[in-house]
């Protein structure tokens, strides 16, 4: 069995800190659908590295401040 883990994010908090940015506005800025932002916030989807960088850039934050990786015991 390989190492298991989950990617967590601070997207919801960061959206509210950015003048209560809507999911649709973030989706448009990152070039994805609103459903993908909803899935990310619900931790139902782990983004590609490219999308993670795009979202970090929208918030003007380093990648590690937006996304974190939590390793779980297999």
């Amino acid at each position: 069995m390989g190492i298991q883990g989950k990617i967590h994010n601070q997207i919801r908090r960061l959206r509210f800190e950015h003048d209560e940015m809507t999911q649709a506005a973030l989706a448009k800025a990152a070039g994805v659908t609103r459903q993908t932002i909803m899935s990310l916030e619900a931790n139902k989807y782990s983004p590609s590295l490219e999308l993670a960088f795009k979202i970090s850039r929208v918030f003007n934050k380093p990648l590690t401040e937006v996304f974190s990786y939590e390793q779980t015991e297999p």
Binding site: V32, T33, Q35, S39, K44, Y45, P47
Partner: protein, 157 residues
Amino acid sequence: MLSLQHLSTREQNILATLTLDLLVTLYYFSELAGMETGLTEPSEQMGQLILKVIILSILASILLFGWIRWRSGEEEPRDERDYQIEAKANSIAYGVLFGAVALLIGHLIINAIDWHASVMPFLSFTPMLCAHALLVILLLSSTAKSVTQLYLYRRGI
């Protein structure tokens, strides 16, 4: 209870595809069951039915997908999550297609070697029956794809 409003445009399109596939197939086979020649032999009636089903499918698709498009207002662009979900659904649909075709081939071979050892010795595997079996396999594969997509959109990947 999940209503249409809780589904994204993409999920509504997938649900429409699934419903249309199942309804058209159900209609086709129910009409076919009423024919004297049935599934095994080709007939003029069967040709007319196939033409009717194709025309009905096209009309129903235009109406249903047009209505979904009209309700949503604009076309939803696809992103990486959509492609990932479609890839997983395609992989499962391929498994279903491969498994079912392998079973059909196996059955045809057994049927040809020893007719009495066949699982369905009461059926003579005419080319028309094989075509219908393949049609059912295609439906199974398509259903597996749609169901997987709907499941992954709801549960997440």
